[in-house]
Amino acid sequence: MQVVSLFNYVTFFLLDAVIDPVQLLAITLVFVCIIAGMLFFILLYLIRRTGRSMRRRSLREQYSNCISELAVCETNDELQSFLQQPETLTITALLQHDAFARRIIITELLKTVKNMSGNAAANVCWFYEQAGLQHDSLFRLQKGAWHVKARAIQELSGLRQNKYIAKIYRHTNNSNELVRNEARTAVIKLTGFEGLRFLDVATYPLTEWQQLCLLHELSLHSNRIFDGVQRWLQSPNSSVTEFALRLVEVYHLHACYPNVIDCLKHASKPVRKKAIAALKEIYTPSANEILVERFEYEDADVQILILQLLQEFATEAEQLFLLQQLTHQQQEVKVAAARTVYHTQPAAEQLIKQRVNADEYPWTVLLPQLKQEVAL
């Protein structure tokens, strides 16, 4: 009874008072006004977007003709006369007061320089400076939000503004991931392998994606300097160690062999996996014994990697170990071991049959499968 009374009390004061039809209609009216506002905004936005895209297209056309002429200049005199051309003067005058035009031309210059090299690219970077556009990028680097900063870094590095390297370098350990990544990529772009010194102080992790970007950027440089790699292999930041192992793998850094061997005992599994991958590229016969020794301490996925490595390098000394793995508890490990035996022993089938019951699954299928694989 009390509950019902309470309910009626609440109903009277809330249901009847708060949600009376007039109030609901008033809220509905507010919704309708917001809808009308949004519809109006959509319309305005679509009109504005069409206008902007038309302007962008026209500016791009204008700039692309100008940039094409700029790219073919060969001497300083030609560059100076390019600056004095009426079209160029019109563009530079527009750039003085139109931020939108500056954004478009910087994007166009960046795109052009990406697809060019040598003198043509140098001319484009020179024009970027002559038009004072680097001030625009620097201003945004200082004052902008994270994505604005990152864009500014991309512009400065893309248009080869090496003199601002110190300003960019400061951001290589920025708390924002995107700014940090762009700054790290930028220092490599500007200084090549030397730029990797940021790894000495990197406290934030390098994601796999960042590592791919850095490797890609490094592949574009020929002045290979690997001074810090041994130091990075011992970094307290395990992602730095992972990246260093990738450097060892890609650039076959044989001098790092002892450090790579140490990484096989690293606490982090991704580091150990990458150490095995690196070892494949800087292999020396003494590695086999260490790998066999590490095998029992590892999870199945790492054990499979070890067996895959031995597929290429196993000798007679490892045969007993490999044959023992044919009775491993995990089928994937068993299969990997059999594959390794098949690839390293001419009489593999006989050896395997001596160890296992060849009439039982998986051997009934695995043996023909391996025979077929080796034949291919």
Partner: protein
């Protein structure tokens, strides 16, 4: 109960039990609606920041680095096929042409009764090979494994198995896959050129949490121009039913899933196109073939596994349109689809009821699960019951009609507001429909939706509940028109 007890004196006057019931129901429906509306408002605003952040970040990504790198993770694409003979050759060709370096394509023929297998064997010069794999998850028997004798198709592996349903076929794929990341895909979907790169990138971006699954936006391809398995022109569907689903998908993918992703509370990765961590999928037990909502169920189970093991994890979501699919174009097919979705949701919620308001499951138990329970599972039932009750009360003269219509207009205007907001977000972000006319058509569709489409969807969900009680397990045949030969706009 005497008449004196049946009447209660209140501050407002005499009230009998009938009026009490009406007020109770009105009060409940109103409160429920307000909470639901507040959730929607929160979702709408919360998704904005995440979408903006993603678009800004994505503008810096050069996917070509990933496309050519040898260091990208290897993936196994799992494509279950059942009676797809008419399109299987082209569909497999599309899969083999996917823009990704390290991958294998596993086509799982789930005991098709048509000539799918024969066609595959001829087109791709398949030969049966001995193939050992570990049965981590129990499945129906595998009849044979085929590889192509032509080195051009070396990435292709075709598995012929006994019919067991989509979940069973995918479980065979999980067992047989040789890579750490699995991409499950519907063979009749059309992928964007860089879809795979975008789907896999989140796996490369996390160091502190393990990414266990990723999914992206699925868009509706009806009326789009398709050439050689690629969307060459995006058009808004001409027919009303697919068009209203376009709006529905925009709301769900651009607002709902984005907000849930930001909360790390996403429960659903679309079965049409999603990537999973193979190790976790196996440890969680793979797809459940006893549910018709196997895609949602797997994500929930993988999340549950991670929560129970206290391993930091993330289910990532990409707001880019990655995959295009054909939406049902008739009420009959749509009804079957929604019926199945309802049954899938209920089955999943029932299987994982342990997590309901269970704080040890974090956001999953305290927010995601209750949201799905109250606002995905119960919403159509409450809406249906509410509508019937309002009509009955109105007929009996117990309902204040002015209040009824005021509440109706309030709810309808909010629904329209939410749809217009979703359209606004679409225009500001991905803007797939370039023609102004299409945007206004979409707005008109949003206006018509509550009167034509929504009641049907509610009814299909109610029927889904009834069918579940009757223990109906079927998927319901999904007839598709197909992209080829479709009239062009």
């Amino acid at each position: 109960m005497d008449s004196a007890a049946a009447t209660i004196k209140t501050g407002g006057g005499i009230m009998n039990w009938q009026q009490f019931l009406v007020d109770l129901l009105t009060w409940f429906i109103f409160l429920y609606s307000v909470v639901l509306l507040l959730f929607y408002i929160f979702i709408a605003f919360y998704s904005i920041g995440e979408t903006r952040r993603y678009i800004r970040k994505s503008s810096f990504t050069d996917y070509s680095i990933m496309a050519v790198s040898e260091h990208t993770p290897s993936i196994s694409i799992l494509a279950p096929a059942y009676n797809e003979g008419a399109t299987i050759i082209e569909n497999v060709r599309s899969l083999l042409n996917i823009h990704y370096n390290n991958m294998e394509v596993i086509v799982l023929n789930d005991g098709s009764k048509d000539d799918s297998m024969q066609k595959l064997m001829e087109a791709y010069q398949l030969v049966e090979v001995p193939y050992v794999f570990t049965t981590h998850i129990a499945t129906k028997p595998v009849r044979a494994v085929y590889r192509s004798s032509n080195p051009v198709y070396k990435k292709l592996l075709v598995v012929d198995k006994q019919n067991g349903g989509k979940a069973d076929a995918l479980n065979v794929g999980i067992n047989i896959a040789s890579n750490d990341i699995l991409v499950c895909i519907d063979v009749d979907c059309i992928l964007e050129q860089d879809a795979m790169l975008k789907l896999i990138k989140p796996f490369l971006e996390e160091k502190e949490k393990r990414v266990i699954a990723t999914g992206g936006v699925v868009r509706i391809a009806n009326s789009c121009e398709v050439k050689d398995g690629k969307i060459v022109a995006v058009n808004l569907p001409e027919d009303f039913i697919p068009r209203v689903q376009t709006l529905e998908y925009i709301r769900a993918f651009l607002l709902g899933r984005m907000a849930w992703s930001r909360l790390n509370g996403l429960l659903l990765i679309s079965g049409a196109f999603g990537a999973f961590d193979r190790e976790i999928a196996i440890k969680a037990g793979g797809y459940d073939h006893n549910t018709v909502g196997e895609d949602m169920e797997l994500v929930v189970r993988m999340r549950r596994y991670m929560e129970e093991k206290k391993i930091p994890y993330k289910v990532a979501y990409i707001p880019d349109p990655l995959c295009w699919t054909e939406a049902p174009a008739s009420f009959k097919i749509l009804g079957r689809q929604r019926n199945r979705w309802t049954r899938g949701t209920i089955e999943t919620l029932k299987l994982h009821r342990k997590m309901f308001f269970n704080p040890s499951y974090g956001v999953l138990g305290m927010l995601s699960y209750p949201y799905w329970f109250f606002f995905e599972f119960l919403a159509p039932l409450i809406e249906f019951i509410g509508l019937v009750a309002f009509l009955v009360f109105a007929a009996l003269g117990l309902m204040d009609l002015s209040f009824f219509f005021a509440l109706l207009f309030f709810i309808l205007s909010f629904g329209f507001l939410y749809s217009v907001f979703a359209i606004l977000m679409e225009v500001l972000t991905y803007n797939q429909y370039r023609k102004r006319k299409e945007i206004f058509k979409l707005i008109l569709t949003a206006f018509l939706e509550p009167f034509i489409f929504h009641p049907f969807v509610v009814w299909s969900a109610v029927r889904g509940n009834i069918d579940l009680l009757r223990k109906k397990k079927s998927w319901g045949e999904m007839t598709r028109q197909g992209f080829a030969g479709k009239k062009k706009t």
